[in-house]
């Protein structure tokens, strides 16, 4: 029979855990709203940019001399993976899922004889990959999403990635991030940014394309020059978007995880209270029996 005092302490401790998880849930819910809002307000820019890239890329279809950021350098030997994760834990399967995906991808690429480097955004993603592929990790960028995703950070990252590309440190760059589907679902999504895969965006931009690509644009200056200018910025935008989506996903995942935890804590408190009451009742019955049998003995 568990001791009454121990049970009481146990119940109190679960109660305070529940308070923490439910507070975290509410914080995550508030942050999620904000994150969703900023993801939505970033959409117009990204969409227009995609339309422009699609329009320009079309004019380079099958033509030599397209810029390298679009067409690639013709090699497929060295891969760079940008792993977008969170700095903090307690968000359910958010980091575990993306970590698993990244590890599988690295194993797959290595098996095919390619070299792989990883750039981690967020501490937790690094922790996931470090054990098996510690040698592949180039660097970890932390505190990116402290105040929500900032375009400046994305821009700096894009600059860094481009510098590495120019120096020939990799041939193909893929961003892996959690795509925000709804508050409770995220989807691990790989997005190839260098060379930029136009096919991926064709679906989203299709409607716009049908309308607008038919109208022939005049280009000023030439297509090549615009594209030269556009592609680096497109890279920043893609990274920015991955960061925004990932941040919203993180908050959603944390909200769901904390909701679960709060509910589990509630169940646990109920069970413990039941045991506690039973134990108390048993103690009282015991005392009564003792008194009655004592009286009878007289």
């Amino acid at each position: 029979m568990p001791n009454l005092k121990d049970l009481k302490i146990r119940i109190d401790s679960v109660k305070s855990t529940q308070k923490i998880t439910s507070a975290m849930k509410m914080v995550a819910a508030a942050k999620l709203r904000k994150a969703q809002l900023s993801a939505e307000s970033a959409r117009p820019y990204a969409e227009r940019m995609e339309t422009m890239v699609a329009a320009l890329a079309k004019s380079f279809d099958g033509v030599d001399g397209a810029p390298e950021l679009l067409a690639g350098n013709g090699k497929d030997e060295k891969h760079l993976i940008v792993l977008v994760s969170s700095d903090r834990g307690l968000c359910g399967g958010f980091n575990a899922n993306i970590g698993r995906f990244a590890r599988n991808k690295i194993t797959e690429l290595r098996a095919a004889g390619k070299s792989v480097k990883v750039l981690c955004l967020g501490r937790k993603g690094r922790d996931q990959v470090r054990r098996d592929f510690g040698d592949a990790i180039l660097d970890t960028v932390e505190d990116l999403t402290k105040n929500g995703a900032q375009y400046n950070d994305a821009n700096n990252l894009a600059l860094r990635i481009r510098t590495m590309y120019e120096e020939g440190e990799f041939d193909v760059c893929t961003v892996i991030y959690n795509k925000f589907i709804s508050a409770i679902t995220q989807e691990v999504t790989p997005l190839q940014v260098i060379p930029f895969a136009v096919a991926q965006i064709e679906d989203t931009a299709k409607e716009a394309q049908d309308d607008e690509l038919k109208a022939l644009y005049e280009y000023e200056p030439s297509e090549e020059e615009i594209l030269e200018d556009l592609l680096p910025r497109n890279l920043s935008v893609q990274i920015f978007r991955a960061m925004l989506e990932s941040f919203a996903s993180e908050q959603g995942a944390r909200m769901a995880a904390m909701d679960n935890a709060t509910r589990n804590a509630g169940d646990m408190i109920n069970n413990l209270t039941l045991t506690y009451n039973r134990a108390r009742q048993a103690a009282i019955t015991n005392e009564l029996i003792e008194i009655i049998s004592g009286a009878e003995a007289l």
């Binding site: 117009p44 820019y45 227009r48 510098t163 280009y219 000023e220 615009i226 935008v237």
Partner: protein
């Protein structure tokens, strides 16, 4: 055909401005250009400078943009700018500090990519200082 054109100013973070205007003058990569309704479709780069919005042949709004792109169609003019600040809110000290920083960055830049980025930033800062005087 309507006698206004839909002008949209978009930054990576959000849609800053979306309104019907009579005419808008954008600092294009190859020189300023004005957009009136029925403009021929065009894609162009935007250099750092001031966008003027006209109503009744008068400038009603001036916005400083730090480079970007413009997409013009018959009834729409969308400017994608990395940064945009209303000219009234430009701060001279701020702009000069930025110019200084950009100069330093250019001197410190080693790789080609970093140099390009620093040069772009320098041009933006120069235009910003110039915009303060205007």
């Amino acid at each position: 055909m309507s006698d206004t054109v839909l002008f949209e100013l978009v930054s990576p973070a959000k849609l800053l401005l979306s309104e019907e205007v009579e005419m808008v003058v954008v600092p294009g990569g190859e020189g300023d250009f004005g957009v009136l309704p029925g403009h021929t479709p065009m894609l162009t780069t935007v250099r750092p400078g001031i966008i003027d919005i006209y109503e009744n042949d008068k400038v009603v709004k001036s916005i400083f943009v730090v480079g970007g792109f413009a997409e013009v169609s018959e009834e729409r003019c969308a400017v994608l700018a990395e940064e945009a600040i209303a000219v009234d809110e430009l701060d001279r000290d701020n702009a000069e500090a930025r110019l200084q920083k950009a100069t330093d960055a250019l001197n410190a830049a080693e790789s080609d990519v970093a140099k390009q980025a620093a040069e772009r930033e320098l041009r933006a800062a120069e235009a910003m200082v110039a915009a303060c005087d205007a």
